[in-house]
């Protein structure tokens, strides 16, 4: 069963249709990439899948574990992480800058820890299963700090970390929600080649850990090298869907995207400004 099934998804902003009747699936345990020129509707699609927007039409089904399905578009925002087990990162980093790196990772485990505190009361008194839960939480946080090479910076304010470290911390925070599907919005943006290679290794490790990935990426090197499956969007519509080799050879994709230059397409509708 696929981890994500998007059916006839449409998102309109007033008169502008940013995503038009898009359907696709993401297989469990795979890295699925969404590519397309600027303004193709990638980020809008992403925002729908992660509950940031409520889609105008269509459905998004997430299967956090085999044999279980959740209709994402019907969940309230805060339930998506818990019931749908979908986590995401942002193109423009949204860490809690005033909190330490470790605290950022602990916030991501809020639901489990809060339940263990007996809704605050036992937590204040420091009794019950809370201490054990807190220790487990710190263990999980430490695991992801190690994976992202940030153990030494655990007690630094997140806002004071260098850019590349903030990107990795955002991934670590998303992983601390223990997601079934991790959505990454341009994870390689602004990284140098060495950091980019480190990111590839990190994402592969996450996939091996059993988490499926969905990513938007402009860096074709990252996409072709990493993805199991690629979906190409243009002007809000899906124009191709296949393995990296198929996409590379697809004449429609080459015409719409690779051939025209991926960074500055003057005719592209500015659909993503609303994101």
């Amino acid at each position: 069963m696929n981890v994500l099934t998007v059916t006839n998804l449409t998102m309109r902003f007033g008169g502008l249709t940013a995503v038009n009747n898009v359907s696709f699936t993401a297989a469990r345990g795979h890295i699925t990439a969404i590519i397309g020129p600027n303004g193709a509707g990638k980020t809008t699609l992403f925002n729908c899948i992660t509950g940031f927007y409520k889609p105008s039409a269509g459905s998004i089904a997430v299967s956090p574990e085999p044999g279980k399905a959740v209709q994402l578009e019907k969940l309230p925002g805060h339930a998506i992480a818990r019931k749908g087990r979908v986590a995401r990162t942002f193109q423009n980093i949204r860490l809690f800058g005033g909190m330490t790196a470790l605290e950022n990772l602990m916030v991501a485990q809020h639901n489990r820890l809060q339940a263990a505190t007996g809704f605050g009361v036992l937590g204040v008194l420091g009794i019950g299963g809370y201490r054990a839960a807190e220790r487990r939480g710190i263990e999980l946080a430490r695991h992801w700090l190690e994976q992202t090479g940030l153990v030494e910076r655990a007690d630094d304010p997140a806002g004071a970390l260098p850019y590349g470290a903030q990107r990795r911390l955002e991934i670590a925070r998303a992983m601390c929600t223990e997601p079934a599907l991790l959505c990454l919005d341009e994870p390689a943006a602004g990284l140098n080649p060495r950091e980019s290679a480190g990111l590839n290794a990190l994402l592969r490790k996450i996939r091996e850990g059993g988490c499926s990935l969905l990513l938007i990426e402009h860096d074709m090197g990252v996409v072709m090298n990493l993805s199991d499956h690629i979906i190409v969007l243009d002007h809000g519509k899906k124009i191709a869907d296949g393995t990296p080799a198929e996409i590379r050879a697809d004449p429609v994709v080459i015409g719409a995207y690779l051939g025209e230059g991926e960074e500055d397409d003057p005719d592209a509708p500015v659909a993503e400004h609303a994101a």
Binding site: G77, A81, F96, V107, Q114
Partner: protein
């Protein structure tokens, strides 16, 4: 010297009460970016619950037990008020234009004042001093410096409450959730935090702190009326702004400073102009430090 010491004691005691109320203002401002003008009236209701409980229990229990019951009852009832105020007056207006909840808050403040005026009467109500006596710290040429047991109790209770509160905010999941919602509510929701519940809890905790302040105000002055919330609320709000609104240590620092300014101005200049002195200092501080003493500089997100 002895006189100054006495003013210092008086000012710190008063400042602690202001600080406790100021925390409620600063927390709510931090988490939803509005000034809860009804907060001073929650403080007033806390004082009234205190006087009702203490009057009812007079003669029935020992004084410490009576005080404990008064504090707890007041905190619970004010918590319910805080929760309801947010649900009724602020939540429906969230996402509306910025002035809407502010006007709603002022309306809520008027409702609460008049409700207490009608139900409890407009006259001042008094209780006898429950913790009489004190300790003489210094006797200088006939001027006696006194630290009353009441003042000592207020200082100890405030420090205990602040310690518990600091632990809650810095170390528990709830505190982390509150700080996360304060910094980026939408992101916090994406991580699975129920922002509505976190905001409700913020109001409940802030109101419970105001309740403690209300009961202590009652014990300290012995006299309350339905209008005490206005003056104390404005002072505490000033304290929150002086310390840097949004900053919890700032609220306490601001409260202490305002208590001290009031006490020293009353002692060395004129009682009549003590409020003018407080607001003048506020104006001067804001001229040089627009975000208050411990406030963060607002960085506009682009």
């Amino acid at each position: 010297m002895a006189y100054a010491l006495q003013q210092l004691i008086n000012g710190l005691t008063l400042g602690m009460i202001y600080g406790l109320i100021a925390i409620g203002y600063t927390m709510v401002y931090g988490i939803i970016g509005m000034i809860n003008f009804a907060h001073g009236d929650v403080f007033m209701i806390g004082a009234f619950v205190g006087i009702i409980v203490l009057t009812a229990l007079t003669g029935l229990t020992s004084v410490p037990l009576g005080l404990l019951v008064a504090f707890i009852a007041s905190a619970i009832i004010c918590g319910v008020y805080g929760f309801s105020i947010e649900r009724v007056a602020y939540r429906p207006l969230r996402g509306s234009f910025r002035l809407a909840p502010l006007i709603s808050a002022i309306g809520m403040s008027i409702v609460l004042e008049n409700y207490v005026q009608v139900s409890q009467g407009a006259l001042e109500r008094a209780i006898p001093s429950l913790i009489p006596g004190g300790v003489t710290l210094m006797n200088q040429g006939g001027f006696v410096v006194q630290l009353s047991w009441m003042q000592l109790a207020i200082v100890i209770v405030t420090i205990a409450v602040l310690a518990g509160f600091t632990y809650l905010v810095t170390k528990t999941p709830l505190g982390r959730a509150m700080r996360a919602v304060e910094q980026d509510a939408k992101m916090a929701a994406l991580l699975g935090i129920d922002t509505d519940r976190t905001i409700s809890l913020t109001f409940i905790i802030g109101s419970a702190l105001a309740a403690f302040a209300g009961v202590m105000f009652l014990l300290y002055y012995g006299v309350i009326d339905f209008y005490i919330g206005f003056n104390a609320g404005i002072k505490a709000f000033t304290a929150a702004v002086l310390g840097g609104i949004g900053s919890l240590p700032g609220a306490v620092l601001g409260g202490l400073l305002i208590g001290l300014i009031e006490a020293f101005w009353s002692g060395y200049a004129t009682v009549a102009y003590k409020d003018a002195a407080v607001y003048s200092i506020l104006a001067i501080v804001l001229m040089f430090m627009p975000s208050g003493l411990l406030g963060r500089h607002e960085v506009e997100k682009v």
